[in-house]
Amino acid sequence: MEIRVDRERCAGSSLCLSYLPEVFDQSDDDGKVLLRTPVPGADMEEAVRGVAARCPTGAITLHARDAQDA
């Protein structure tokens, strides 16, 4: 699983960072999302999905990396 973030859509809510600081970070300049771990381990998948669902603007999306991952 690969995480992608849309920094244009991001509203800077800080929610992703507050839930999963090991995966997400936030710019000090504009408060928008930064990715610390673009390809987290399988054990993180459920948590990342929860965070993506909470994002107010849907700026976090998850993508299969290859056929096996899908």
């Binding site: 509203a11 809510s13 800080s14 936030q26 710019s27 504009d30 408060g31």
Partner: protein
């Protein structure tokens, strides 16, 4: 994603008319419907107008809730850096200091004490004014204007005068800070963005932020404390298990839902929500209260449960207008509520529940003993 709590008693999306007209409008009550509408770019927060010029005149400069992209994006981007999680964490000592001072003062005054007058408003006012860099000597008068200007003040003339005085003060402050920007939110905005923010935008931003820092955060704290005090089992649980504070804060924020309706949205094209079509130009009022399963202040609430995960509530809105200060509000509420309970673990209402009086967004007074 779990849905919060209970479904609304109301229909999820109801057609109605704009009062005084025959124009169709909508009220969204369902969680999924509100979430869909608030995150859909085809809805605008600008009031509809016949011409772009007319539309621009309706905007309060600096009030981000009235802007659409790309103007919204431009202005919001200048502010979001002020509300990052790191910035909010760096503000914790300031908030802890203010809360400690207020608790010391309450202890010194002796019981019973009105939590609203001695804890809720002083705490949120001092913090809000400190963040914006409002000189200490001016704070009391400014906060009084803000209170007089509140929505449910029946004296319209008095209310308007206070609103004018509030904006005039902030306009004067903004001009002072243009000349000598301090190390505060307004000072940093001026240093970092200078003239790309106009004077009315800067004054309007200060006005909107302060009105969020004080009445909105303070109203949530006051009504949240009512909720905890009238649920002694939940209060006892929180004192016994302080690690529940984050859940408790989230539950307080949800159970209060201080902004009952999101700013009205207007469809900029036909949008299908569920099996209904909202036509281009029609208004939608999204009820955050209904979507969050909450009741208005003073009404019997659904059960308060500080152990459940409520973090998907929409009290901070949803979509691109999601509250910028959400992390700050959470932090203030956490430190204020846990500080109060740590200092006064036996805190309880000092009057019968029925004697509490409520305003649109707060409780008038909250006498407690410990």
């Amino acid at each position: 994603m779990p849905k919060p709590l209970k479904d609304s008693d109301q229909k999820p999306l109801v057609a109605t008319v704009v009062p005084g007209t025959s124009d169709r409008a909508w009220i969204a009550n369902g969680y999924d419907e509100v979430r869909a509408i608030l995150s859909d770019d085809r809805f605008s927060t600008m009031p509809p107008a016949k011409t772009p010029e007319a539309s621009r005149r309706l905007i309060q400069p600096g009030n981000l809730l009235q802007y659409d992209p790309p103007e919204h994006t431009r202005l919001r981007r200048m502010l979001t850096g002020e509300f990052t999680l790191r910035r909010v964490r760096a503000l914790e000592p300031l908030v802890e200091g203010v809360v400690k001072d207020r608790l010391d003062a309450m202890e010194g005054a002796g019981q019973p004490v009105d939590l609203v007058a001695h804890f809720v408003w002083p705490t949120t006012s001092l913090i809000g004014c400190a963040l914006l860099g409002i000189p200490r000597d001016d704070q009391a008068e400014l906060v009084r204007h803000l209170d007089t200007n509140r929505l449910d003040n029946p004296d319209r003339e008095q209310r308007d005068m206070a609103g004018t005085a509030y904006l005039a003060y902030l306009d004067k402050l903004m001009r002072l800070k243009r000349r000598k920007p301090g190390d505060d939110l307004l000072g940093r905005l001026i240093r970092d963005h200078g003239r790309s923010l106009t004077d009315p935008e800067l004054t309007g931003t200060a006005a909107t932020l302060l009105a969020s820092f004080i009445p909105i955060t303070g109203g949530t704290l006051g009504l949240g404390l009512v909720g905890l005090l009238e649920n002694p089992d939940q209060l006892a649980l929180l004192i016994e298990r302080p690690e529940l504070i984050d859940h408790a804060v989230e539950e307080v924020i949800r159970s209060v839902t201080i902004i009952p309706h999101a700013s009205p949205r207007t469809a900029t094209q036909d949008v299908t929500i569920g099996d209904q079509v909202i036509k281009s130009g029609e208004f939608v009022a999204c009820s955050l209260l209904e979507a969050n399963g909450t009741r208005a202040p003073g009404q019997p609430q659904d059960t308060l449960d500080i152990t459940r995960d409520n973090s998907h509530h929409m009290a901070f809105g949803h979509g691109l207008h999601y509250c910028m200060g959400a992390s700050l509000a959470r932090m203030e509420l956490r430190i204020a509520i846990s500080g109060l309970l740590h200092r006064f673990p036996k805190v309880r209402l000092a009057v019968p529940r029925d004697e509490l009086r409520f305003t649109a967004r707060s409780v008038e007074s909250l006498p407690v003993a410990w």
